[in-house]
C-alpha cells in the first residue's frame, strides 16, 4: 500500500546547488533508489543519478542518505520512521558533476598507481597452485564492488582535499594487502611503497571505511592494520632491530 514520503534531494552542479523538497509515493518493500526513480519519472525528469544493477553488486548508486554514505539500492525506505524526511545528497568527497552524480575518477587514477601482481619467473602459466587457506585470506578483499563508499567516508581525503595526491585510500589498501599476502606474489617492496608512496601512515584507524562497507569487508582489521604491522616489521620492530644490531656487531 502506497504512502507519501518526504524526500530532500540535492540538485545542482559545480557552480551552485541546494536541497529540494519533494513528496513522493512509496510502496512497501521499496528501496531509496526506487523512490528516486519515481521522482525522476514523475517530478524531476532531468534528475541525474548513477545506477546499474539494483542488487548491491555494481557499486554505482553510492550516495549519502541522511548524511551516511550508502548504496541507494540497498537502503530500505522502511528502515526510516514513516514521518521522517529522507535527505539524499551526492558523495561529498568527490567533485560534483550533476545532482547525485560525482566524478570518481580519482579512484581509477589511484588504481593505476598500485603495482600489479608479479608472477614468479620460474613458474610457467598453469603451474601455479594455492592451498585453500591461502586463497580464503584474500577472498574477502575480492568481494569489493568498488562503490567507493570507503573512499568517500575516509576523512583523510573527505576533509582534506590536499591529501588526495599522496593518499590511495582504504579501497586500495585492501588491494595492496591482498597482493602482499598473496603467496606467489614476488614484488618485494609493497610494504615500503604502501607507507611511503600510497599514504598508509596517514590512516589513523578510525574504522569509518569498515563501518560503511556494503560487502562487510573488515577493511581496517584485516587489511589496513595488518599492512601497518608489516610496515612495523621492516621499519620499527624491536626484535628485528636488536637482531640487526647483533648481526652488524658480529660482522664488524
Amino acid at each position: 500500500m502506497a504512502r507519501k514520503l518526504n524526500l530532500r534531494i540535492w540538485r545542482g552542479d559545480a557552480t551552485d546547488g541546494g536541497l529540494k523538497d519533494v513528496v513522493v509515493d512509496v510502496n512497501e518493500g521499496e528501496v531509496v533508489l526506487d523512490v528516486i526513480h519515481r521522482v525522476q519519472a514523475t517530478q524531476m525528469g532531468d534528475l541525474a543519478v548513477r545506477w546499474n544493477c539494483k542488487a548491491g553488486k555494481c557499486g554505482s548508486c553510492s550516495m549519502e542518505i541522511n548524511g551516511k554514505p550508502r548504496l541507494a539500492c540497498m537502503t530500505q525506505v522502511a528502515s526510516f520512521d514513516e514521518d521522517e524526511t529522507i535527505t539524499v545528497t551526492p558523495l561529498r568527497a568527490f567533485p560534483i558533476i550533476k545532482d547525485l552524480v560525482t566524478d570518481v575518477s580519482f579512484n581509477y587514477k589511484k588504481a593505476m598507481e598500485i603495482p600489479a601482481y608479479s608472477h614468479p619467473k620460474d613458474l610457467a602459466p598453469g603451474e601455479a597452485r594455492m592451498e585453500q587457506v591461502d586463497v580464503e585470506r584474500s577472498q574477502e578483499f575480492r568481494k569489493c564492488i568498488e562503490c567507493f563508499l570507503c573512499q568517500d567516508t575516509c576523512h583523510v581525503i573527505r576533509d582534506h582535499e590536499e591529501n588526495k595526491p599522496s593518499f590511495a585510500g582504504p579501497r586500495f589498501f585492501i588491494r595492496i594487502a591482498e597482493l602482499d599476502m598473496h603467496p606467489l606474489d614476488t614484488l618485494k617492496n609493497r610494504k615500503r611503497t604502501a607507507q611511503e608512496e600510497h599514504g598508509l601512515g596517514m590512516c589513523n584507524i578510525t574504522k569509518c571505511c569498515t563501518e560503511v562497507c556494503p560487502e562487510h569487508i573488515k577493511i581496517t582489521d584485516n587489511a589496513i592494520i595488518p599492512m601497518k604491522e608489516r610496515v612495523v616489521d621492516i621499519k620499527y620492530d624491536p626484535a628485528r632491530m636488536f637482531s640487526g644490531l647483533l648481526r652488524r656487531e658480529k660482522r664488524s
Binding site: T89, I96, R158, M202, I225, R230
Partner: protein, 267 residues
C-alpha cells in the same frame, strides 16, 4: 575552504547531514576515558594505599622503588631510588609508561580517542574541525608505531600481575589457600589484561599474520585463527580490562585505607 566545502564538491553548508545521535558514542568515550585519566593521575601521584595483606594494586606493580612497602616489592628488588632530582617519585610513575604506552598506541584506543578527543573525525561522515592533517606520518603520532614495543612490555606486566593474583591466595597470616573478594578482583583484572593483550592486533600479526603462506605453517595458522577470534572482541576486552584494572586499584586502595574490609570466603 577545504574538505567537504572545497569548491569542486557539492555545495552543502552543513558539516554533516546525519540525523542519528552520532555524537553520543564519542561523548561517552570522552567521559569514561577522561574520568579514568583523572583518577589514574591522582593515584599515580598519591604514592600510598597500594598494598594490604598480599593485595597489591595493579597501578603499583611491579613496585620497583626503594620507597615501596617491602611486602609489595617483586622479590625485594628495588632498583630505583625513592627520589629523583630531589623529587619524591611515586612507585607508580616509574612503571606508568608501559601500560599507558600500550593503551595509547593500541589500534582500538586510537580510534576511540582520535574520535572523542581530537575529533579527527568526531564520527564517520562528520567533518572534522582541523584545517591540516598528516596522520601518523610524522612526530609525535609516528610514535604509534611503537605499539609492538609496548605489546612485549605488556606481556611482562601480565606475568607480574598474574603472579600478584596468585599471591592474593595468601591469607592475612601468609598461609596459602585463602580466598577473598580481593583474590577475585585481582584474578579478574589479570585475566582481563591477558585477554586484552592476546586479542591485540599486534599479537595477531606476530603469531601468524605476517606470513605469506598459511599452508606452509599450519601451527602458526591455527594460532592466528584463534587470536583472530579473540581479535573480534578486542574493543570489548579493551574496556573490560580498563574497568577491571581501575576497580582492582580502587578495591586495594579502599581496603588499604580501611574504608572497606576484604571479605575472606575461607582462609
Amino acid at each position: 575552504m577545504s574538505g567537504v566545502f572545497s569548491p569542486t564538491r557539492a555545495k552543502i553548508k552543513e558539516r554533516t547531514l546525519r540525523t542519528d545521535k552520532w555524537w553520543l558514542e564519542p561523548a561517552i568515550t570522552f567521559g569514561v576515558l577522561f574520568s579514568f585519566v583523572i583518577y589514574a593521575t591522582f593515584r599515580a601521584f598519591e604514592g600510598a594505599n597500594y598494598y594490604k595483606d598480599h593485595l597489591i594494586s595493579p597501578f603499583y606493580s611491579p613496585c620497583l622503588s626503594q620507597a615501596c612497602v617491602p611486602e609489595a616489592t617483586l622479590f625485594g628488588w628495588t632498583p630505583v631510588s625513592a627520589q629523583v632530582f630531589n623529587f619524591a617519585l611515586s612507585p607508580a610513575l616509574i612503571i606508568l609508561i608501559f601500560p599507558l604506552g600500550f593503551r595509547m598506541t593500541c589500534y582500538y584506543y586510537r580510534k576511540a580517542y582520535y574520535r572523542a578527543f581530537w575529533l579527527s573525525p568526531p564520527a564517520c561522515a562528520v567533518a572534522e574541525p582541523h584545517t591540516k592533517y598528516t596522520g601518523e606520518t610524522r612526530a609525535p603520532l609516528i610514535l604509534q608505531n611503537a605499539h609492538r614495543w609496548f605489546f612485549y612490555a605488556g606481556l611482562v606486566f601480565n606475568v607480574i600481575l598474574t603472579y600478584d593474583a596468585v599471591l592474593a591466595f595468601k591469607g592475612k597470616d601468609g598461609q596459602w589457600g585463602a580466598f577473598s573478594v580481593g583474590t577475585i578482583v585481582l584474578s579478574l583484572s589479570a585475566a582481563m589484561l591477558w585477554m586484552y593483550s592476546l586479542s591485540c592486533h599486534t599479537c595477531r600479526h606476530t603469531v601468524g599474520g605476517r606470513l605469506k603462506h598459511f599452508s606452509k605453517h599450519p601451527i602458526r595458522y591455527k594460532l592466528w585463527s584463534w587470536v583472530s577470534v579473540l581479535n573480534h572482541s578486542h574493543q570489548k576486552f579493551a574496556w573490560y580490562s580498563l574497568a577491571a584494572v581501575a576497580f582492582a586499584d580502587i578495591y586495594v586502595r579502599q581496603v588499604s585505607t580501611g574504608a572497606w574490609t576484604n571479605y575472606y570466603f575461607f582462609s
